[in-house]
Point group: C2
Amino acid sequence: MEALADYFKVFSEPNRLTVLEALRSGALNVTAVVEKTGLSQALVSKHLKLLMIAGVVRRRPEGSLVFYEVIDKGVFRLMAQAEKLLMAARRQQLDDLAAIF
Amino acid sequence: MEALADYFKVFSEPNRLTVLEALRSGALNVTAVVEKTGLSQALVSKHLKLLMIAGVVRRRPEGSLVFYEVIDKGVFRLMAQAEKLLMAARRQQLDDLAAIF
DNA sequence: TCGCAGTATCATGCTGTCGTTATGCAATTC
DNA sequence: GAATTGCATAACGACAGCATGATACTGCGA
């Protein structure tokens, strides 16, 4: 339970999801992620490190650049499924509200 | 991105997952959840409230008791998929480690 | 109606995490 | 080898979320 919660925690941060999203279409170096997301360089570095520790992302130095890429694109399926559940939950809540009137 | 992160946050807490797990087999009242999980009553109440606000759980007062139940069991599929990804990530990390030697 | 069992909430202390700024370090270029 | 670029990390302040203990609320039975 503990480990699973920690794994979910990886995806529980908006900026981290933004970073992940930036990597959806393939590997990018840090600066590219910074430009694509608009986040500060330090912040991007930290989130990428966390994603690496979590085993979500792979680090690949290439010359003076460092590329990161998503290891298992299944994480995007996880995100999609969560989004689906989220929207269903919202719909349900609206229905509940409507049932009051 | 923000909303999705908040949704993931719901599942990023061990005790909250424990509460959810307690409800896997069906509706329970608060005290039953307390007994099943070993968590304090105040804590269970708060987590259940959060789960309700998130639209994961439904609240149903019945006499002097209050029953809670999971609205969409799809959340358990989400958890299962996350667990699968988690284990795959771990395996990958071990492989990476082994590749060093 | 009094008391009790079940549930919710409040106030508080604490810990963890986030973001920023500044700095360190490594590889490249000149 | 000095300067520059790309990335990582440290230190710090701010804030959010968790757990606890105490207390309030609610409906039911005696």
